[in-house]
């Protein structure tokens, strides 16, 4: 079982997130980390790999210098190898360009399953998995709440369960396939001391667009298929009245709602 996991390095949501002057997410001057939602994909890949002797987990990211930290964290968790696509021309890429670069990168690898998280925590569009499946011509199996590989070899298939508003669905597809997983699927492990030490010896390859044969004019801010006209910081919500319940908290609450014509 050869598994490729795509991960993203994102600004820490606990910190101060902002936009740069070109309206792209400011990635240079903020604390970043492996996207929390991608940890579930890494964890699930490791779980699948633990079930077989010759399984490999390769982690791929696209991003600036600091993005290698996201790959390194995944290696510390237990992944075998990492690939970081690093090229100044990628700055400002939209989801279409990102999926193109990821697809070209994954095209250089051998795989049975390509895994992703359910969304990034910065842009949060949640469309790269679908676009990546399109680019790679793979069946798309997204938002897995459980994931099993049924069988071995050419007849193997992936079976997931997922939750929509109206239904619980069981979905299956032949391999190779692209699978995105939700935060319901597992509890990601923390890197152990042993894992952290072992990660230092694991291969982390850095590739440029030229290495991948991607025309730089197809990616980056200028090539985006939509443009941001402006970014406005919303005024923080003003805190309103706070009362302490002295046996009349519920009544006061309803009084407020009545005054605001909400009841």
């Amino acid at each position: 079982m050869r598994i490729v996991v795509c991960v993203k390095h994102v600004p820490d949501a606990q910190g101060d997130r902002r936009f740069a002057t070109d309206h792209t997410v400011d990635r240079g001057n903020v604390d970043g980390l492996l996207c929390e939602l991608d940890e579930y994909a890494v964890e699930q890949a490791l779980k699948l790999a633990e079930g077989s002797d010759d399984a490999t987990v390769t982690v791929v990211t696209v991003g600036p210098d600091a993005a290698s930290d996201a790959v390194r964290k995944a290696l510390q968790m237990g992944a075998d190898a990492g690939v970081h696509v690093l090229d100044d021309a990628i700055h400002g890429s939209d989801a279409f360009a990102t999926s193109l670069v990821l697809a070209k990168t994954i095209g250089t690898l051998e795989y049975d399953v390509v895994m992703t998280g359910m969304a990034s925590t910065d842009a949060g569009m949640s469309v790269v998995p679908a676009l990546l499946a399109a680019r790679l011509g793979l069946p798309q199996v997204t938002f897995a709440g459980t994931l099993d590989i049924d069988g071995d070899g050419p007849g193997a298939k992936v079976v997931i369960q997922r939750d929509s508003d109206a239904y619980t669905e069981v979905i299956e597809s032949a391999l190779p396939a692209l699978v995105s997983v939700t935060d319901q699927i597992n509890e990601p492990r923390y890197p152990s001391f042993k894992g952290i030490m072992a990660a230092k010896k694991k291969p982390l390859t850095t590739l440029s667009l030229a290495d991948l044969g991607v025309d730089a004019s197809l990616v980056g801010l200028a090539a985006a298929w939509s443009t941001v006209a402006g970014v406005t910081q919303r005024p923080p919500r003003a805190a309103g009245a706070v009362v302490t319940d002295e046996g009349d908290g519920g009544a006061k609450l309803v009084e407020f709602l009545t005054g605001a014509k909400l009841v």
Binding site: R18, L37, D94, A133, S164, I171, S226, T244, G250
Partner: protein, 323 residues
């Protein structure tokens, strides 16, 4: 005027409110034209006309047996039947998880720009479509335009008040769809309907009452207050992860993003993950034992107290005012 395609969100022809919202937005950009996938069109026809659809494209319900790619291929076939991408003004799709994926794959097929999670859609100065989205847990508003091809936009619920225009019966065109093998490669092998709560849909509700860690797993007081207000019930990630409430009721970054008239947070501290799902609510009310809980920073009204004391009193009080 060019047509604006709206993907209809329905269950067996019962049209959801998002569709009337999208038709209302579509009318700002051109002629609203509904795309109906699945069974039950006869049930939907009246509602689509009422909210301004002048045309309807129906596609075979077989499409619904498959997933995202099948629906993207169906929409691409409708675009073709409607005269091609250059003849249309935009495609509007509900901002659900599936809707966003359908939109992305359609946009890639059409070589066209995509905007997801729009909270406003309007004609751009000098032509095209302009949108607004919330970013970074609602801390920023981003204004964007599509610069390539036919704008494909997914729109969040409650972005506009639907306007009934009571138009004439739309012109119905049935569109044949040839699904690819890849679209048929992913199969739904089992589909179990979930039990219905009888409460309003979380993302459509005008009022949402949510419970968190402070409920200690007992949502009865939260539900009772929700019911007296006619509200939907939400839950924080902590409550869902503890198994106290279903994931489909989770409000937050990895759950539902809601924007109701009133949001009542009960025993929820207000972590950034939760705020990402409710910060754009019109009015926020919080009940929490901890006066330092960050939720009070964004609450229009807060009660420091035990939700098991405050909520029953509020429920009785609200019931007596309504009576």
């Amino acid at each position: 005027m060019a047509q604006v395609l709206v993907l209809v969100d329905h269950v067996d022809g019962a049209v959801r409110k998002t569709t009337s919202e999208l038709l209302t937005l579509a009318a700002r950009l051109g002629e609203p034209a509904a795309v109906f996938v699945g069974d039950g069109y006869d049930n939907a026809a009246g509602s689509l006309a009422e909210f301004g659809a002048t045309a309807v494209y129906t596609v075979p319900s077989e499409v619904n047996d498959y997933l995202v790619l099948a629906k993207a291929e169906a929409l691409a076939a409708v675009v073709e039947a409607a005269g091609g991408a250059s003849a249309l003004a935009a495609v509007l799709i509900p901002s659900s998880a599936e809707g966003k994926e359908i939109a992305a794959r359609l946009a890639l097929k059409l070589d066209s720009g995509l905007i997801t999670d729009a909270i406003d859609v309007r004609p751009a100065d000098g032509g095209g479509v302009a949108t607004s989205q919330a970013a970074f847990a609602g801390g920023f508003t981003v204004d964007a335009t599509v610069t390539r091809g036919l704008p494909v936009v997914t729109v969040k619920q409650n972005s506009v008040e639907p306007v009934a225009t009571g138009g004439a019966a739309p012109v119905v065109t049935s569109v044949a769809v040839e699904l690819s093998d890849l679209a048929k490669a992913v199969r739904v092998v089992e589909r179990k309907p979930k039990a219905k709560s009888g409460r309003p849909d979380l993302t459509e509700a005008a009022i949402v009452v949510s419970g968190g860690r402070g409920t200690n797993g007992d949502f009865s007081k939260v539900e009772a207050f929700a019911d007296v207000l006619g509200a939907a019930v939400g839950a924080s990630r902590a409550a869902v992860d503890s198994g106290w409430y279903p994931h489909s009721n989770q409000v937050g970054q990895t759950g539902k993003q809601v924007s109701p008239q009133l949001y009542v947070a009960c025993g929820i501290s207000g972590a950034i993950q939760h705020r990402a799902g409710m910060q754009t609510s019109k009015t926020i009310v919080a009940i929490n034992k901890d006066p330092e809980a960050p939720i009070f920073e964004l609450a229009d009204f807060g009660v420091v107290g035990d939700l098991f004391a405050v909520l029953p009193q509020a429920t009785d009080e609200a019931a007596s005012r309504k009576a």
